[in-house]
Amino acid sequence: MRRASSQTLIQRFQESDREEQARNESKKIKLKDERKTQQRIGDRIDDITQQVTCMTIYKRKGKRPCEEFSWENHGLHRQEMRTRAARLEKQLKARWSIEQLIDEQLSHFRAIYIRVPTTMKDVTQLLMPKEASAHELAATSWLGDWRPTMILELSRSLIQSSSDSAGLEQVLLQLINDVRIQEAVIDEEMAEIQATCVLHLPFSPLRVEGSGPPLARMQSEFKKIHRVVTKAQNLRLKTVELVVKKVLSKTDAAEFLVAFTRFQDAIHHFAIQYKLSKGTVSVPVKVLGGSSLGN
C-alpha cells in the first residue's frame, strides 16, 4: 500500500514536471516566434551548457558570452539559470563521486600493498606470487609487485598523450628521480640479505655466531626479508598516493587509476597466453655435453 501511494506521489511529481515542461515549451515557442534573436542566444547557451558538461577540470575553453538583461526575457533567463544550476549541481555531484571513487580505489591499493605476511612461506609468496605468471613478474615486478618508478612512468606517459603539461612532466621526472634513489637503497638492503645474511642460514658452511634450532635461525633471516619487502610495499603505496592525491588533477588521477588497473589486467592475461605459447623452457641437449663450455 505504501509503495502504491509513493508511486502515485512520484507519478504526480512526474505529471507536474511534464506540465511545467509543456508550459515552458509553449513559452519558448511563443518567445521564439516573437523574437528570432533570442533563438540565437538560446542556441549559444545550449552550446555553452554542452561545453560545461563535456568540460574536464583541465580543459577550460572559451568564455561565457555576456548577455544583455531585459525584463522581456527575464523568464527565459530564470529558466536557463535553473537548468544551468541543475547541471552544475550534477557536475558537482559527479566530482564528489569521482573523489569518493578515487579514495575507494586507493583503499584497495592500501589493502593489497599492506598485506602482512605471517609465516616464512608467506614472505616467499609475496616475493614471487603464484597467481602471477613468470612473464608478468619479469615485466613489471620489483620485490613482488609493480616497481614504483614504473607506476610513475605510466602516469608520465599518460600525461604526455593527454595534455600539454610540461610543468607536470617536470614534477613527475623529479619524483621518478627521487623514487629511483629510494628503490636503490632498498635494493642494497636486499642485496645484503641475498649475499651476506644468506650465509647465516642453518646449513651455511660458515661458522656463524649465535646458534639455535635451524628453523629459528631461518626465521630470523626471513624476518629481515620481510622488513625489506614491507619497505618496498610502503614505497609502492606512497608512490600511488602521491601521484593520485598530490600530482595529478582529479580527472587525470581518475584516468590514471583506470589505465593502471586496465594495464595490470591486460599484462596479466597476455602473460598467461605468452607463457602458454612459449611452453616449458628447454635447453638444447648438445650444450649439456660440455662441448661448448668455456668462459
Partner: protein, 252 residues
C-alpha cells in the same frame, strides 16, 4: 637400458627443470663426495685434487652456460625459476645467486684466522695438514686480489640493477604511448632487453668464480668449492624444507 639411452640421444632438447635436477644430483651425489674424498689425508694427491677442482668448476660453468641458453629461449622463466624451492626463491638475485655471495664466501675464509673450534675438530681431523693450513695467513696478494674483485663487483652489480629497471620502465612507457593491442611486441622487446641483463649477470657470476679459482692455490680453491657446493646442497635439505613449508609460526 640401451633403448632408453638411444631414445635420449635422439632428443634435441630437454626441459631446463630436468637438466637442473640432474645437474644438482651430480653435484650432490658425485662431485661433492669426490672432492671431499680427494681432500681427505688418506687419499690426498695434488693431481687428483686438481682434477676434482677442475671437474667442479666445469660443472658450475656448464650450469651457467645452460642457464644462458634457457634465458635466450625464455628469460622470464629463468628469472622466476620454478625448479628452485621456496627457501631458495627468497634469496635469488636475477634468477640465481647474488654475485656478492661468492666474494663474501671467500672473505669468510680470509677472516677465519682462528684455530678450529671443538665442533670442527673432527672435520679437520679428516683433512691433511695442507688443507688445514690452506687459509692460515693468506698472502697479501690474495687479499688485494679479492679487494679488486669486490671493487669491480660494486660497479657491475648496480649497473645491472639499473639496466633491469630501465628495461621495465621502457616497457611501461611504450605501453602507455602505444595501443594496447601492441602489448605482445612491447613485451617481446622488453624480454629481449632482459635476456641481455640476465646473460651479463651470469657472465659476472662465471667470471668471479674463475677469478677466485685462479687467484687461490689448489687447497684454498678446493675448500672454497667444497663450501659453495655444501651451501647449495643445504638449500635442498628435505627435512628443513618440510619444516619450512609446515611452519605456522608468525615471523613478526
Amino acid at each position: 637400458m640401451w633403448k632408453v639411452a638411444l631414445f635420449k640421444r635422439k632428443k634435441t632438447s630437454k626441459p631446463f627443470k630436468e637438466f637442473y635436477n640432474e645437474w644438482f644430483a651430480t653435484l650432490a651425489t658425485t662431485l661433492l663426495p669426490s672432492l671431499r674424498h680427494a681432500l681427505s689425508p688418506v687419499f690426498l694427491s695434488p693431481v687428483i685434487l686438481s682434477t676434482q677442482v677442475e671437474l667442479m668448476h666445469h660443472h658450475f660453468r656448464s650450469y651457467y652456460d645452460a642457464l644462458d641458453q634457457a634465458a635466450a629461449a625464455d628469460v622470464a622463466q629463468c628469472l622466476n625459476p620454478e625448479w628452485r624451492n621456496s627457501i631458495e626463491r627468497s634469496f635469488l638475485w636475477l634468477g640465481d645467486l647474488h654475485p656478492y655471495l661468492f666474494t663474501n664466501l671467500i672473505r669468510s675464509f680470509l677472516a677465519d684466522q682462528e684455530p678450529p673450534v671443538d665442533e670442527n675438530v673432527t672435520k679437520f681431523l679428516d683433512k691433511s695438514w695442507h688443507v688445514v693450513m690452506a687459509w692460515k695467513n693468506p698472502s697479501k696478494t690474495l687479499t688485494s686480489r679479492v679487494d679488486k674483485i669486490e671493487c669491480g663487483l660494486r660497479l657491475m652489480v648496480p649497473a645491472l640493477a639499473s639496466r633491469w629497471r630501465n628495461a621495465q620502465s621502457a616497457f611501461v612507457e611504450n605501453l602507455g604511448r602505444c595501443d594496447k593491442a601492441a602489448i605482445g611486441e612491447i613485451l617481446a622487446a622488453e624480454m629481449e632487453d632482459m635476456v641481455g641483463v640476465f646473460v651479463d649477470a651470469n657472465r659476472l657470476r662465471r667470471s668471479i668464480l674463475a677469478d677466485i679459482l685462479s687467484t687461490t692455490d689448489l687447497y684454498q680453491a678446493a675448500l672454497f668449492l667444497e663450501a659453495l657446493a655444501e651451501f647449495l646442497v643445504g638449500f635442498k635439505d628435505q627435512k628443513l624444507l618440510n619444516e619450512f613449508e609446515k611452519c605456522k609460526i608468525a615471523i613478526n
